[in-house]
């Protein structure tokens, strides 16, 4: 008789745990990442070329009305159709895209840079400077920013610079808040203290640690502000303090479309919207790809997929 201790264990079926015979990645990399960057760059290049080249090549004045051709659906003559004054929408969308891209890009960059400068100053200098800057931010946030924007834009009515100023000066406060918070958390990290314990200067901490730490945030805010600025410009134009109605922008085109869509003229809405959506998506993708390259642990993740 065998005791339990000496009993022969039942044979284990090892085939169920057979090791794979070839190497495979421990994690299946997202194949998507590989074409995101070229695609976004490609889309942006096409959009910019479209905005710059089309009005120049077409040789049509976007303000020239042709009432006989009014409200036509897309056709071979007018690819995007015409509006209620018979103006060709290909040319107007291109013209509008040019103006909107310019306004939005300048606004997004200016607001982000301003926010970064204020946020970093508050975090690095601290003390009284921090309190004054952040209470200013609170004060600006307390005023509805469209209202403040209207005041600024109304001082120089119809000027593109006033539109830019009114949007940029009302949107840096959010960026400043986020950047300050980010810089404050990084400032007390172990590796910053380690740098200081090795004789690192304030400038070194700022350049090596704080700026790289807020850079992804700054890129994200550019990506978020860009479409927002386009819509903001359209709101200002709608209220009569933005760009003059004869100057097409994506905002004014969409304002037109708002009434035309009710009578079934879908093309007035679809083509300007496509331009706006393509711009937004391409910038967002670009900033995500750039962030992947700013953060080394994400960069090596991308490397696994053989993309970097």
């Amino acid at each position: 008789m065998t005791s339990e201790l000496t009993a022969v264990p039942r044979a284990i079926d090892r085939s169920r745990w057979r090791a794979p015979v070839t190497w495979r990645p421990a994690r299946v990399p997202g194949g998507r990442r590989r074409w995101v960057l070229p695609l976004c760059v490609g889309v942006l290049v096409v959009l910019v070329l479209f905005a710059v080249v089309v009005p120049w090549v077409a040789g049509i004045d976007p303000r020239q009305t042709a009432l006989a051709d009014a409200n036509q659906a897309p056709s071979w003559d007018h690819w995007f159709g015409t509006d209620q004054a018979g103006r060709d929408l290909v040319v107007r969308v291109a013209e509008g895209l040019r103006v909107s891209l310019l306004v939005a890009a300048v606004c997004a960059v200016v607001a982000t840079v301003l926010g970064c400068v204020v946020g970093l100053t508050a975090a690095v200098v601290g003390g009284r400077t921090d309190r004054v800057l952040m209470r200013t931010v609170d004060g600006l946030n307390a005023v509805p920013h469209l209202l403040l924007g209207i005041v600024i834009a109304a001082m120089w009515k119809g000027a593109i610079l006033a539109v830019i100023a009114s949007i940029a000066l009302t949107h840096w406060t959010q960026v400043a808040r986020i950047v300050r918070a980010q810089a404050l958390t990084v400032r007390t990290r172990d590796y910053v203290l380690a740098t200081v314990s090795l004789g690192g200067s304030r400038r070194q901490v700022l350049v090596r640690h704080l700026l790289p730490a807020v850079a992804p945030q700054a890129l994200l805010s550019v990506a978020l502000l860009l479409p927002h600025a386009v819509w903001h410009e359209s709101a200002l134009s709608f209220l009569g303090v933005g760009l003059p109605p004869d100057r097409p922008s994506l905002g004014t085109l969409l304002e037109d479309a708002r009434t035309r869509i009710l009578v079934g003229q879908w093309w007035t809405l679809v083509f300007p919207s496509l331009a706006l959506i393509a711009t937004t998506a391409a910038v967002a993708g670009l900033s995500a790809a750039a962030r992947d390259r700013l953060l080394p642990h994400r960069r090596t993740e991308v490397g696994v997929g053989g993309a970097a």
Binding site: Y191, L193, A194, V196, L198, G199, Q204, H297
Partner: protein, 321 residues
């Protein structure tokens, strides 16, 4: 009579006299992290500082290079010997930043995983430290000095290093400015015994080149073989400091004895009592209040041998264990 905690012979590189550090809390109380501490760090020796968690060891290291939080207050003297003698507690932050930190006193920080800038490669970190500190040894040689292969490691980011490699990179960074004093806060934390012994060996090698090494560690097994001197700290005070063989094998004070007895290889008997909160330490001996036993009531270090100092002790506690 020589000053408490002194080592006979050549003047020490770093001599700490009556150092107290208190950290302010929001409710107005003070954490007594270091109290009336006397200790010498002689050149060419490894001094092991042992003691339970939260007894003030790491605060001591930060205090020596002026990296305490702004709410802290300090008392005492920390003399840094050399061609340009300096009291580190009296020096202002500019002097510490431009002349002391990294250049004359190097710190190997506690947490290897987070102490390396995550966005830069090891090579970039090292060469920048060498440039900033005006170090004479190029980055690649520093890596070789800590037994890392520059070709394989210089291009890696911190998250790609193993724990042992990260500890050694931190040591290389601390050596970039060729400091006279090396403060190492838990340099063997989280390493297997072989790697821990390896890092300890590197520190001993640094001491042999003439540096004074302060080795703060719980890993007595790995650090004891390389220690020349041992200091033992409990509840913010150093209770015994002396030659490694004496303090490790025949401690006079009963706290070191209890601490060694709590090590797995020496019986695993827990240290009696619970450490009192550092916010309200008694004016008399916190250790003997907690553990019982007779206390001589003398809280300052007194000599029992030319370089062996004990406070409130009662003679050699025991031989072997």
């Amino acid at each position: 009579m020589t000053a408490a905690g002194a080592v006979p012979g050549a003047p020490p590189v770093l001599s700490i006299r009556g150092l107290s550090v208190q950290l302010g809390l929001l409710d107005g109380r003070w954490v007594h992290a270091v109290s009336d501490l006397d200790m010498d760090l002689p050149a060419g020796t490894v001094t092991l500082l042992a003691g339970e968690s939260g007894c003030g060891k790491s605060v001591l290291a930060s205090a020596l290079i002026g990296l305490l939080p702004p709410t802290a207050r300090v008392r005492g003297q920390v003399g840094l010997d050399g061609p340009d003698p300096l009291d580190l507690l009296a020096a202002d932050d500019d002097v510490l930043a431009t002349r002391v930190r990294g250049r004359r006193v190097g710190l190997v920080p506690q947490s290897a995983g987070t102490a390396l800038t995550p966005t830069r490669t090891v090579g970039a970190l090292l060469s920048e430290a060498v440039t900033t500190l005006g170090g004479a040894v190029p980055a690649a040689d520093l890596l070789r000095e800590v037994w890392l292969d520059p070709d394989g490691v210089a291009d890696l980011y911190p998250h790609q290093l193993s724990g042992g490699m990260a500890h050694r990179v931190l040591l290389a960074l601390a050596l970039a400015g060729q400091p006279d004093v090396l403060l190492c806060d838990e340099p063997t934390a989280g390493l297997d015994p072989e790697n821990a012994a390896h890092v300890a060996g590197l520190l001993a090698a640094q001491a042999r080149t003439g540096r004074a090494v302060l080795l703060i560690s719980h890993d007595i097994a790995a650090c004891a073989p390389v220690a020349d001197r041992v200091a033992v700290m409990v509840s913010s005070r150093v209770v015994e400091v002396g030659p490694a063989t004496d303090v490790l094998d025949r401690p006079w004070h009963d706290y070191p004895q209890a601490l060694w007895n709590s090590l797995p290889e020496r019986g695993f008997r827990p240290v009696p009592g619970d450490p009192p909160p550092l916010t309200d330490l008694p004016d008399d001996c916190a250790w003997h209040r907690r553990a019982g036993g007779a206390c001589s009531g003398v809280l300052t270090l007194e000599p029992v041998a030319p370089d062996h100092w004990v406070s409130c002790g009662r003679g050699p506690v025991g031989v072997g264990c």
